[in-house]
């Protein structure tokens, strides 16, 4: 429109001319508007969604976009609020605190923590605002169940303001959660020093005291158990030395310890030799080379014949031909001379363990069982030659 105007403006216009031009321009404008009206305005916010749109606008948004990206306008605004060049540390700390509080109110505790943390980083010299920043961050941590951090921040808040009751209550509660009962008791007692006899605090204190007692009791119980265990172990070792049982991989008596007596069979570690009323009780391994089968028996008393154990395992389910019974077998052990030695199973287990050439391997007495006079037995013996 404006392009046409300069061309006709060389000479002064007559009134008619001016009038005609006005009419022409009006007409053009009308035409333009008419042409606009034909298509609807689509770039604005629709009636249905304006609230949503408003939330997205940096001026009005109530929370930051979920993807975290800020529009340039929002960034600019943020800069105005958070630029260290524009604000003093105190102002910044207050701004960040406000920010944190906003997020806290909307239960965005993680974001709130970020806000408070930024505020704390300003290291402004106002004790009240620092106490409040730490206390609020502690509250956020509390809601996220980060009790250790909640305790730390609460105590930090108290270092800025020792009379911050809320911070002290939270410190006490958080201390209870992280089982620092002494700390909890201390805070409770400080809270109760004031005249107010808050029932909640009294209860908290009592809970902490009870839990502390339990904790101490459990500790004592554990200590006593350890003591007993190590006493047991000493007794076992002493008994083994007394009996004169030779342990493989042990050079002399001082060399014996329980790690060398642990059964190496998977899952059998807890079957380790133990002592009851002065009687050693051994784990026992019976091997049947013919079927490549084994039996593992726990807690065999040393003063009982090996035969008694054998009677327990026979008849074996895999022994379909009934070749294995106490009267039809020979029992061997492999001595430290790497040779098989036949033994008399009617002897006590303890006596067998001190037979000549006997050596205890992997803390588990092991015996080979073979049908007497069988081919399998011959083959077994020949394998050693």
């Amino acid at each position: 429109m404006s392009e046409e105007a300069p061309k006709v403006a060389k000479q002064p216009m007559t009134d008619e001319e001016r009038l005609a031009l006005c009419q022409k321009l009006d007409k053009e404008l009308d035409d333009f508007i008419d042409s606009l009206e034909k298509k609807r305005y689509t770039e604005g916010w629709s009636e249905d969604t304006w609230e949503e749109e408003m939330d997205k606008h940096p001026f009005f948004m109530k929370s930051t976009p979920e993807d975290g990206a800020l529009s340039p306008l929002a960034e600019g605004l943020a800069k105005l609020k958070y630029d260290p060049e524009e604000n003093t540390p105190l102002e910044l700390a207050a701004n960040y605190k406000e920010d944190g509080n906003f997020n806290f109110k909307h239960k965005n505790y993680r974001l709130a923590i970020l806000g408070y943390t930024e505020g704390i980083k300003q290291r402004c010299n106002d004790a009240e605002i620092n106490a409040s920043l730490y206390n609020n961050r502690a509250a956020s941590h509390w809601h996220l169940k980060n009790y250790r951090s909640a305790l730390f921040d609460s105590e930090k808040a108290l270092s800025f303001n020792a009379n911050h009751t809320k911070a002290r209550i939270r410190a006490a509660k958080a201390a209870l959660e992280v089982t620092k009962y002494d700390t909890c008791i201390e805070h409770c007692q400080k809270l109760l020093e004031g005249e107010s006899k808050d029932k909640e605090i009294v209860e908290l204190l009592n809970t902490a005291k009870k839990k502390k007692q339990q904790q101490e009791r459990d500790q004592r119980r554990k200590e006593r158990k350890n003591e007993k265990d190590s006493e047991q172990k000493d007794q076992v070792i002493k008994a083994i030395i007394q009996r004169g049982i030779k342990i493989s991989k042990c050079d002399d008596e001082d060399d014996i310890d329980l790690s060398k007596l642990e059964p190496s069979l998977p899952g059998a570690q807890d079957a380790i030799v133990h002592i009851e009323d002065g009687v050693l009780r051994w784990p026992l391994l019976l091997l049947y080379p013919e079927f490549q089968m084994t039996d593992f028996i726990r807690g065999c008393p040393e003063n009982v014949p090996l035969l008694n154990q054998l009677e327990q395992v026979f008849p074996a389910p895999w022994d379909e031909e009934n070749k294995y019974s106490c009267s039809k077998i020979n029992v061997y052990f492999e001595g430290y001379d790497k040779m098989p030695h036949v033994i008399d199973p009617s002897k006590n287990l303890g006596d067998l363990l001190v037979t000549k050439y006997y050596e205890l391997k992997a803390g588990t007495p092991a015996f080979f069982i073979l049908p007497r006079g069988s081919v399998v037995e011959r083959r077994f013996l020949e394998s050693y030659i």
Partner: protein, 360 residues
């Protein structure tokens, strides 16, 4: 003429007398107060006694100390206490007020002697009610001095406040004070001293106070309330590092479960006896008996009995066990103290107890 030598001493006991003379005169009197006859002699000279009382506040510490020591000796017997209560100091205070002032003064060097005098005086039950008024305004301060082991700055340990509080607790008003909030319950502060290792006097004071409370059924409900954990303090001294089977262990107060092997029992026989007397009192009423049973007291006593060698305390232990091992229908009475025992039976029982103690 044969003037009484004590009257001659009097002039040296005046505050304005020469220090060395005051010293020598008092030394002599300390020696004199060491014997019964000496005390009788002293008590017959009221002016001497008056001078001694005045000298308890002498500027020379050695003099004040000796003056106090004489009073300790005099109050060791009840007659001395009764006599002494008739006097007043220069400042018109009676001896009780005077000593309370010394005990509560952290700068008083010989506060211990003053505490001993008070312990001696309060032991005389007939005089207790009459001197109580002097204590009442200071009870919280006295308790504070008792629980605060560094209360005295001049090296006095004030252990004798213990027996003093214990003696005072023979009065109902003191028992009431001990168990009521103001703003704290005094007894709660006292309890930890049942296991105060450094002094069996202080420890015995705490235990004696509990025993005195237990003699009054009015306080049983309070004493056996769960929050107080009195049983923990009572049983701890008579427990060693013995083992219990788990089911028994679980019934004990939690702080007494799985005590370390090296745990030692109370070595003071009087304190052990007080504990058993206290437990015995709790056995008087059904509620108490059930409470003791529920908390494994029987098991503790069973083990303790194996260890105790003194026949008197063993008997006291057996008396409690005899009640606890019975079921309630076997006990057959809500309140054992209400059971009337005919005199002839009483005599018989006493004779049995005598014989038991003799046997050992």
């Amino acid at each position: 003429m044969a003037a009484d030598p004590l009257d001659e001493l009097l002039q040296f006991l005046k505050p304005e007398a020469r220090i060395d003379l005051r010293h020598i005169a008092l030394d002599h009197l300390v020696g004199l107060s060491g014997t019964e006859e000496g005390i009788t002699t002293l008590l017959s000279h009221d002016k001497i006694i008056q001078s001694i009382i005045n000298l308890t506040d002498d500027k020379i510490e050695e003099v004040a100390k000796n003056a106090l020591l004489i009073l300790v000796n005099i109050t060791a017997n009840p007659r001395g206490v009764i006599e002494l209560l008739k006097y007043k100091s220069d400042g018109n205070k009676n001896i009780v007020k005077l000593c309370i002032g010394y005990v509560l003064n952290p700068e008083k060097k010989d506060a211990d002697a003053a505490a001993m005098i008070l312990s001696n005086i309060t032991r005389v039950e007939t005089e207790l009610e009459s001197i109580l008024d002097a204590f009442l305004p200071h009870l919280n301060d006295i308790l504070n001095a008792y629980v605060n082991i560094n209360f005295n700055k001049k090296g006095s340990n004030l252990n004798f406040i213990g027996p003093m509080i214990s003696n005072l607790s023979c009065c109902h008003s003191i028992r009431k004070w001990l168990t009521e909030e103001n703003p704290h319950i005094p007894l709660i502060k006292l309890l930890p001293f049942c296991s105060y290792e450094l002094s069996n006097i202080r420890r015995g004071g705490a235990m004696g106070t509990i025993r005195n409370l237990s003699f009054d059924p009015e306080f049983h409900d309070f004493l056996l309330s769960n929050d107080l954990e009195l049983l923990t303090y009572l049983l701890n001294p008579i427990m060693g590092g013995e083992e219990y089977i788990d089911e028994e262990m679980d019934t004990l107060p939690i702080s007494l479960q799985y005590l370390p092997k090296e745990k030692q029992r109370e070595n003071d026989i009087d304190i052990r006896k007080m504990i058993l007397e206290t437990l015995n009192k709790f056995c008087m009423r059904r509620k108490g008996r059930e409470f003791l049973r529920d908390n494994g007291v029987y098991y503790v006593l069973r083990e303790y009995h194996k260890w105790e060698t003194d026949p008197k305390v063993r008997l006291a232990c057996e008396n409690v066990v005899d009640i606890l091992i019975q079921k309630e229908d076997e006990v057959g009475a809500e309140d054992l103290s209400a059971v009337e025992v005919p005199d002839d039976m009483k005599e018989k029982f006493e004779k049995m107890d005598e014989d038991y103690i003799q046997e050992k």
